[in-house]
Amino acid sequence: MGYLDYKEAPKRESRLKACIAYGGTLCGLAKKAGCGCMDDGERSFSQGSICLMLPGLAMINSLPDNVTLLHGAVGCGVCSHSQNANVRSGGFARTGSVKDALWLSTALNEADVISGGEAKLRRAIIKADRLYRSRTITVVTGCVPGIIGDDVESVVREIQPEIAARLILVHCEGFKTKIWATAYDAVYHGLGRSVLDDPPERPSLIENEQEQIRLDYLRGRTVNLFNVSSMGRGDELELTRLLNSLDLDVNIFPVFTKPEEMYKVKYAALSISTCPTHDDYFLKYLKEEHAIPYIIKHMPIGIENTNAWLRDVAKFFGKEDVGERIIQNEQRQLELALTEYRAFFKGKTVFVSAGEFRALATAYLLHELGFDIVGIRSFHHDEFANVEYEKLQSVSEHDFTVNIANVQSYEEANLLRKLKPDLFLGHWNGNSTPSKMGIATHVIYNTGINYIGYKGAYDLARRLYKQLKNPAFNKNISKYTKLPYRESWYGENPFKYIKGGEVDA
């Protein structure tokens, strides 16, 4: 029995032993992770972060011709207002027309909490189906139905025959997991159970052997490229360009993929992940159920990482020589373009904070650009990233701070005061701490700009140059605003409030 046979995806704490509390150094973490003795702890002081619903909705809201129906209190899902900007621009980049995401909320109130929300959900599904006539309706559950015990599975299963749209169910009860990367599993779980059916076959009177040969040939050279919601169209095009140059056709999945075309993911020669934090759950499913092998190893951010990512694909298809020629050619052009920036970046210190793989891959790129890495904060830790820590360890001249934290800006503020980096790269809504300290900042993902592949490396270099050339915005703000911490906090151990977890400082 595979995971997809269960009602919902297991949380990553149990599936992958993922953790969110560590404070120490790169070497310290490598030692612990290497011997498999990472224990997760708690914090006796914590700050708000996000839950799995946010990254979950970032994927779901992008699906064309889908209505997202949030089953929860009215505030669950307001992140969609921010994600809508991506839906608009991402939709435009892919289809040439601008459309707002469409999400609804059952807005559970006090009466619903007492009497249950199932009936309301049922009515909402029926009305949404009649009014919007969308191809799919994705029901996303928040904390409230999880606590009051709504049997959402049954509602969805029972009502499906009355509904024209295909119903997808995604569990996002935020209290159930501390690891919001569980979101990716939850979404894949929902998609995998609902929308991978082949389109109805047109009966053909005569067996068309040629057509079958053609199809097999095409599928034999098609790869599934797994995108992530933090990746823009520019990044997709860069990876598509590289894969095309290996003479491969690319099927992009799942962000912005039309539900009626999702079945195609079952017919490819290979699945390629762009972020090992993101896809293992579904890649394993495709391998087990549809015999599609996969590569989940590198994130193609940074020159060496992109080389390695491309090399693995080339090797799979026995095209090592072509792959090497492409890499050499790409690298030669890129090196030339980067020359003027490298000199400028040399020796400048940088601190990186984001989702684990993104943070580590970006740190490697920054090292390649000539920066000196003084600290990394990863929003969680699991085994997939061990290899990335090793990569960094092998190229770093000195040890540096590593902090595993589901944001926790207070630890960050304390570290930044001590390390005083020249530059900080942080998550969406995660750059205000260094900004108020007058440190030059840059957002570590934004779907409107490029980060991935060779082109992404160059574009990022240009943007960092821009930030460092004139950091006046942050410098000025820092003179007149203050972070909300007591002065005494900066004198403390940054990991003081991690209890029972791993602290090496």
Binding site: G48, G77, N84, L104, S105, F175, P484, R486
Partner: protein, 445 residues
């Protein structure tokens, strides 16, 4: 209650309370809820509050107990005790406010008891039950302000002549909250009043603590802030009046009159209004030619929250001389409130009464418009909805595009504008709104 709300244009009560606290000076919110609530609200502000997120302690810096499955089984109060103790140790603030989310309220954590223990130790700390299922963010503002007035504002303060409190503008839900409150402060200053606005750069916690010394509370909303004003009346013996958000000369004049009346001010209000109106129209004088030449008078659709739907409709009708045809309220309102609010729009000098609908599904505006202006094929003399203008949130861009009209976002979500000190209240606010409307109308010029 509808079975669902389309793209809700508000957060939950926790979100409203948090946004309110983030806008107060030196205030540290403490969330007792699941870990994602803070982020969800930060993303909500990011996507709809005119590019404004957080404040002194906001966004992803707000302390939060981040309760999980274990706390739900065993109760979350131990975690809360620990969280408050350590918050006070690290976070530098003059006021700490514990607000609760769905999870901790459903499991029934005794937050009040926990907080009063810290208060008895001399900590300025307040608690408010703001579980998201209680209502939307506008209601969250009322809940948290009421609790602050109850638990933090000094009791028995001596009334200070000419001091008034302002309520009814909800931070982040109204992207223009700072500019709007400043506009109201300046407006009331014309009457020699000192307005306590709580949320502007000029306000301090001391002013908030002394809110009990005001003679009057002015609620500049037909809905939001009324419950908080009632709390001030109950706890601090301050009467209150309500008024439509004063956008432009007519509404500003009306507010000046009613405040002067309520305080029995011995002052020539009409002379002040006359002088301000003269100044206002002096600004419009050089606009006359272009306003006429470009035929800038429009039919209007307004899709907005109560504050903006009422105030903008009245401004367009009473001051600018446009014709509002359809007004859609996106708040969830009971019958009694619907009637009261409808009256605010019916009471017009020119006798123009727009079609008023109460519907949380804003995409339905097109259907309502089609009812007013049925499609008539290629009839040469078809009555078409032109020249038109759409005022609402950034989600009404779709409607504007469908009917080929210019558009301005004022009501949440305001995704496509940067807002800092801009405001639409007072006489000057009317000029600013005129600028923004007409600029949108001539953007392609």
């Amino acid at each position: 209650m509808p079975d669902y709300i389309e793209r809700p244009r508000y957060f939950c009560s926790l979100g409203g309370a948090l946004s309110t606290l983030e806008a107060l000076p030196d205030t540290i919110p403490i969330l007792h809820c699941a870990s994602g609530c803070a982020g969800s609200i930060a993303w909500g502000q990011n996507g709809g509050s005119g590019l404004q997120v957080g404040g002194y302690c906001g966004g992803l810096t707000v302390p939060s107990s981040n309760v999980g499955e274990r706390d739900i089984v065993f109760g979350g109060t131990d975690r809360l005790y620990e969280q408050i103790k350590n918050t006070i140790e690290i976070m530098d603030g003059g006021l700490y406010v514990v607000i609760t989310g769905c999870v901790t309220e459903i499991i029934g954590d005794d937050v009040r008891a926990c907080v009063s223990e810290y208060r008895s130790q001399g900590v300025n700390i307040v608690s408010a039950a703001t579980g998201g299922f209680k209502g939307n963010s506008y209601y969250g503002y009322d809940i948290v302000m009421s609790e602050i007035f109850r638990q933090y504002v000094k009791k028995g303060a001596e009334k200070k002549k000419n001091r008034v409190n302002i309520l009814g503008v909800v931070p982040y839900m109204d992207s223009f909250w700072r500019g709007n409150l400043e506009g109201i402060k300046s407006l009331l200053a014309l009457l020699g009043l000192e307005a306590n606005t709580f949320f502007t750069a000029e306000d301090s916690l001391e002013d908030l603590q002394n809110a009990g010394s005001a003679e009057l509370t002015v609620v500049v909303s037909d809905l939001y802030g009324i419950e908080a004003a009632q709390t001030l009346r109950q706890e601090h013996d301050i009467p209150y009046i309500t008024a439509t958000l004063p956008v432009g000369p007519s509404a500003s004049a009306a507010l000046l009159r009613s405040v002067a009346r309520a305080l029995s001010l011995d002052i020539d209000v009409e002379a002040i209004i006359e002088e301000q109106s003269r100044r206002y129209y002096k600004y419009l004088e050089p606009l006359i030619d272009c306003y006429n030449d470009l035929d800038l008078q429009k039919y209007a659709v307004i899709v907005a929250d109560v504050n903006y739907a009422v105030s903008i409709t009245r401004f367009l009708q009473d001051d600018l001389g446009w014709i509002p045809e359809l007004v859609q309220f996106t708040d969830v309102l009971d019958e009694q409130r619907r009637t009261a609010i409808t009256e605010k729009l019916a009471d017009q000098n020119q006798g123009i009464i727009p079609k008023i609908v109460f519907d949380t599904n804003a995409s339905e505006a097109v259907r309502y418009l089609n009812e007013l202006y049925p499609k008539q094929g290629d009839d040469l003399y078809a009555k078409s909805f032109t020249p038109a203008f759409v005022i609402g949130s950034s989600l009404e861009r779709d409607l504007a595009q469908k009917i080929g009209a210019p558009h301005l976002s004022v009501s949440y979500p305001v995704a496509n504008r940067a807002v800092l000190n801009r405001g639409y209240t007072g006489f000057d606010g009317g000029l600013t709104l005129t600028e923004d409307l007409l600029s949108a109308a001539v953007a392609g010029r």
